[in-house]
Symmetry: D2
Subunit: 237 residues, 4 copies
C-alpha cells in the first residue's frame, strides 16, 4: 500500500513548520469529506460541478495573485517563474472548461456564474495578503493551495477506500497526482523555505502561521460548498 505522507519542504524548514503548526486545520483541508468522496467516488456530480465551476472562477483570481508575486519579485528568475505560473494557472482553466463542455456548459456560462462567498472570501483574502505584506506574506497565502492539492492527490492515491475502476473523478485525481504537478509542488515548498531564510521567517513565524492556517480553513470551506450544493455524499455506487 502506498504511503501518503508527503515530503514537501525540508526538515526544519519553514514550510514543514507551518504545516505542523496548522495541525487540525491542515488535516481538515487535505482530508476533507469532499476529498474522501472524490477518492471513493461517492461525491455527487452536482457537488463536483458546483466545486469545479467555482474553482474556475477561483483560478482567475489566483492567477492575479501570482501576477502580484511578479510585481513583488525579488529576482528576474523569481519573476520568470511566477509569470510562467500565471500562464500555467490560466491553462489549468481549460481542464475545467473541458469538464463543463461535457456537461453542456460553455465558457460563457461558466464565466457568468456568480462567485460564491467561499470563492470571493478566499481569493480576495489572498490578494489582500499581497497588498498588505511582502512576497513572503503573499506566498504563504498562496502555498496551502499549491502544495495542499499535491498532498490531497497523494492521500487519495494511498487511500484503502479509494475507488479505482470507474471513478468518474479519476482524471481530476490524475492531474494533481501527476509527476509534473508533484514536482511543481515540491519546488513551491522549497521556495517557501528559501523565502523564510531571506525574509525573516523565524521572527515572523506567529503571523505567518496564522495566515497559513487561515488559508487551510478557507480551503475547507471551499470544499464544503461542493458538499452542501451536492446534497452531501450520494453513496459509493
Amino acid at each position: 500500500m502506498p504511503r501518503w505522507e508527503t515530503d514537501f519542504g525540508a526538515e526544519g524548514g519553514l514550510f514543514r513548520r507551518l504545516r505542523a503548526a496548522a495541525g487540525a486545520d491542515w488535516a481538515g483541508y487535505t482530508w476533507h469529506p469532499f476529498v474522501r468522496a472524490l477518492s471513493d467516488g461517492s461525491l455527487s456530480l452536482k457537488g463536483f460541478q458546483t466545486y469545479l465551476i467555482q474553482d474556475y472562477l477561483f483560478l482567475i483570481h489566483f492567477a492575479r495573485a501570482k501576477a502580484l508575486a511578479v510585481v513583488k519579485g525579488e529576482s528576474i528568475q523569481a519573476m520568470r517563474d511566477k509569470a510562467a505560473a500565471v500562464l500555467a494557472i490560466l491553462d489549468e482553466t481549460k481542464l475545467h472548461l473541458k469538464y463543463c463542455a461535457e456537461w453542456g456548459l460553455s465558457e460563457a456560462d461558466v464565466i457568468a456564474t456568480p462567485e460564491s462567498a467561499e470563492t470571493v472570501s478566499y481569493t480576495r483574502w489572498v490578494l489582500d495578503r499581497g497588498l498588505h505584506g511582502d512576497i513572503l506574506d503573499l506566498e504563504i497565502a498562496l502555498i496551502p493551495c499549491t502544495v495542499g492539492y499535491g498532498e490531497v492527490a497523494l492521500r487519495i492515491l494511498a487511500d484503502p477506500a479509494r475507488k479505482v475502476a470507474g471513478n468518474v473523478y479519476q482524471s481530476w485525481i490524475n492531474t494533481y497526482g501527476a509527476t509534473d504537478y508533484q514536482a511543481m509542488a515540491r519546488a513551491a515548498a522549497a521556495r517557501i523555505d528559501a523565502l523564510g531564510e531571506s525574509h525573516g521567517g523565524e521572527a515572523r513565524f506567529a503571523k505567518l502561521a496564522a495566515d497559513f492556517a487561515e488559508a487551510a480553513r478557507l480551503e475547507q470551506r471551499f470544499w464544503q460548498q461542493g458538499l452542501d450544493a451536492g446534497g452531501g455524499i450520494v453513496g459509493n455506487g
Copy 2:
C-alpha cells in the same frame, strides 16, 4: 408619518442611477429582515452581538480601504477628506467597544474573534476593487455601505412597525439617523456623482452597476449572519 424616501445623490446623477439599477439587491439590503428586526425590536441580542462584533472587524478593513482611497486621491482636498474618514471610521469602533463592554467583552476579546466568511468576503472584495481599479471603482465599492446605512436609518425612522419605547437598538438607530451621519452620506453620494462626471461613469456604467449590486448583496449576507447566529427573530416583546 415620515417618508423614508431618500434624496441621496442628484437627479440623473451616477449614484441614483446605480441605486435604481441595483433594484431588488438594494431593497433587499436596506430593508433586510435584520433591519426590520432592529426597527421593531424583535432582533435577538445574540444576533445583534454577532453582527456588531463582526462589524467591528469589518470597520478595520473598511478603514484600510478608505486609506487606499487616499493613495488614489485625485486632489489634496479629496486626500484630506478621506484621511479624516479613516479616523472617523476608526472612532466608530469605539461605539462598538462600548456595547461590547456592556456585554462583558473587552477590546482584546473582540479583536480575537475570528472574522466570519461574510466579513472577509465583503472587506477583501472592496480592497481588491481598489487594487484592480481606480478611485471611481473603489468608491463605488465603498458607497453602498456609507449611504445604505443612512437609508436604513431613514427607513427605520419611518417604519410604522417601529418600536420606539424600550427598543434596545435605539442608540444604534440614532447613530445613523443623526444629522451628521446623514449629511456625511449625502456628501458621499454627491462625490459619486462628481467622480462619475470626471472619470467616465457613463461609459463604465455596466461594470460599475455590477459592482454596486454586488456590494449590496454582500451587505445582505452581512446582516444575514446576525439573523442566522441569533436563531432568527425572537419576537417583538
Copy 3:
C-alpha cells in the same frame, strides 16, 4: 525613400488622439538627438553602453508594471496576453546581456549597476500610475514606450541621414524594426483604442493626455542620459 509616418492606432481612436495631443513631447522623444545618433552611427559607444545598461534595469521594472496589468486584467485573454508580455520583456533582457558580454560585462555586473535617476523616475512613475489608477491609466503609462520604440525604428529606417553600412547599432535598430515587434506595437495601440471605448477614455482624456505626455518626457530624459554619459555625439565616422 521610405516614409516613416506610422499607422499605429485607428483614425479617431484614443491612441492617435493622445499621440497628437503630446505634440512636441512625442516628437522630442521619437526623434531625440540620441535616436538620430543611433541612425547615423554617430553615437559614442560609452553613451550607448550607459543607455543599454540602464535599459536593462528599466525592463525589470517595466515587466513588473506589465504584471500589475495582469492583476488589473479585465478578461482571461487580457491576462494571458499581459503575462506573455512579462515573459517577452524578461527575454528582451537577454539581448542586453549579449551586448554587455561583448563589452566584457557579466549579468552580475549589470545588475549591480545603480539605477540612474532617469530609470528610477520613469519606472516607478509607471508603477504608481498603476497603483493609483485602473487598467487604462496603467496602459497609458506603458504605451509610449511600447509604440514609441516601434516608431523610433520606422523613423530611423526612413532617415536619409541613416548610416547603413557598418552601423554598430544596426542590431538594436533591427530588433524594433522587425515585423514581430511592429505587429506587437500595432496590437498594443489597438488595445488602447479598445480600452478607451470601454473605460471612458473620452471623459478622462485630459488626464490621460497629461500622463501620455509625461511618459514621452520621461523617455526623452532616458535617451538624454546616454548622450550626457557619452560626451555627446562623437561624429559620424
Copy 4:
C-alpha cells in the same frame, strides 16, 4: 555650543544600525551643502524657492505613501497614527503655501509646477517600496525623510557657522527644530526599532540597509536641485 549628535532610536536598535550602515550617504544628506547654506544664510532665494515648491509636490505623494502605511497597518493604533500623519503632512503644505504667497505665488501656481525628476524619482520609489514590500519595507523608505529633517535641524542649530540674526530661512529651521517635530521624529525612529523586532529586521538587514541608503541618496539629489536651480550659493551676506 550645542551638540548636534542625535539620539534617535535605541542603542542597538534597527534605526541606529541602518543610520550607521548608510555612513557617507547619510552624512551627505543631513549635512549637504544646501543644508549648510540654509544654516549660514548663503542659500539664494531662487534655490530655496525651487526646493520649496518641489517639496510641496513631494509632500502630496509622501502623504499618499503614509496612507499606504495605513492600508498595511498592523494594528488599529498604528492605523490611527499613520492616518493622523497623513493629515499632518497635508497641513505641512500650508507652511509652503504661506512662503509662496509671500513670493506672489498662489496654490494654483504651485500645483501647476511640473514635478522635477528628483521629486518623481524619490516619491514614486517610496510608493513602490510599499507596493513591493511590507510595512517594514515601506517605513524604511519613509524614515530617512522624517528623522533626517530632525537631524538636519539639530545640526544647523549646533552649527558654529550658523547665521542667527536675519537668516531668512529661520522659520524653516524652526519648523523642524521644534519640540513637537523632534518628538515625532524620535517616535518614528522608535517605531522602526519595534518593527525591526516584529518583522524580521535582523534577517532582512542587507536589503533594508540598501533601501535606507538609497533614500538618503535621493534626499541628496533633492537638495541638489535647489542648489543647481539657484546658481549655487550666493554668499553669506
